[in-house]
Amino acid sequence: MNIKPAIKYNLNNFRKSLSIYYLVIVLFYIFSLIMGVVVEGQSTMNGTDIIAGGFLFIVGLGSFKDEFHMLIQNGVSRKTTFVAYIMNLGIAAALMTVIELILEAVFSGIASITGIDNVRFGFMFESIYAGRYAGTGVFLRTVETFLWVAALYLALGMLGFFITNLYYRMNKTLKIIVSVGVPSIIFIGFPIVNNFMGNRLVEAGGRLVLFILGYPEGGSPYSSDATPYHMILFCLTLFVICGGLAWLLMRRAATKKL
């Protein structure tokens, strides 16, 4: 099995983009600290955990054609290429979650030590589940942050991989139909239908989002009843579904003339 070199190859590619991404993020953190000194008033920097998810989604989008061709050139089967991607994604999701936790802790520490108390660093996760962790220890919060963020990264990374597989398998006509059709449905079709249904689609969508986020019926982010496990389960289900569909597409993917 060529699984080890395949993972090594994937990780090597991922390492380059990850280094550039975190260089930018660290500069952004430093910039926030400087702004805290220069500008008066309270400021909060959160959401880098979600941005990192977006980064993994884009990495997923760019993780098929080149890797598939390079690995098949070197005698690696599709199955091994797919397994190597999952392993790489798993490592990336865990690593990036840890980096996010470390960055937040380090820069919060620096802000505290240097007395820059008008800048607050935090996770989007903490804003969503603020009520749940009021008065609880750091351990539970850290463990649940890790699980929630890592599950989100897995889902987004696999979603990107599935989409790029789908595009690879489609012919030109289908690509055009999907590229035009999907945005048309979302931005034109959906509002029209929603309007026709008296906004019930948006309301139902809102309830679904709140359910996935684990808010109790009519709850708010400050509710102590909110649970992150709905979202974790949802992300893992999305990961499995996208992974399954990506494999179905990939197992019959032929190399293309370049």
Binding site: M1, N2, I3, P5, K8, Y9, D66, H69, M70, I72, Q73, N74, G75, V76, S77, R78, K79, T80, R251, R252, A254, T255, K257, L258
Partner: protein, 287 residues
Amino acid sequence: MKEIGLGIEVKGLSKSFGNVQALRDVSLTFEANKIYGLLGRNGAGKSTLLNIATNRIFADSGEVLVDGERVFENDRALGKIFMMSENNFYPDSMKARDGIRWAAEFYSGFDMAKAKALSELFGLDTRKKIKDLSTGYKSIFKIVVALSTMAPYLLLDEPVLGLDANHRDLFYKELLISYEEHPRCVVVSTHLIEEVSGLIEEIVIIKEGEILRNESCESLLAGGYTVSGKAEAVERFIAGKHCIGMDSLGGLKSAYILDGAQPQNVPEELEITKLDLQKLFIQLTNA
């Protein structure tokens, strides 16, 4: 002692692209430790056959075995084959030296010293990105990797594409040196028949997706001859013989006979010469 493999067995392979039938029920074996010439005109199905053998595309029916194991999604079988193809499957941002380094990761017997020596011999600048290399140097990069992998099955699809005469000559020499040092199965798919005729032991001629000839180069050429002379004398001589084609120039004619028999009772006015592989190929594939 090195174990000799069973070879690459192709069994009843068929493949179509839309309305075009690229391969029709093709069966053959590329035996271990032999050099094959896979010859055919453009679109004959050579690349399709090699691409299926390396799991890059899928057959409609049939299968390919490497040392008795199905090659389909089989890492162990795939790890025994290295295919150098016309297409570039390396990422745009990859430098030649990285392409070599990664090949060494995937092919356990990869000879890095050989890769370095070959790169120097061919004048390959390994610091350049593969996509920025000229067509000839792209081929050279792939040759360097192919000859250094030590894979027991080496499939070379148009290996001399874009190479000048000097580099082509160097490639043929290095291929023979590599073969002598590490005997293995080498399949060379090329249009430059005359150049490889001295290199190949076995010939597979493919036409419109079907195997036309699959035998040793020696026996194929020994089964025929060329008769040349005045047109009328040639016509008289070849009557009743299996003539696969003729060339005429003025009043002179050359006829290519392939009937497995040696010429007898040859009139003095006619000249008998050996069959030329390229001529034979042209006549066989034109028919």
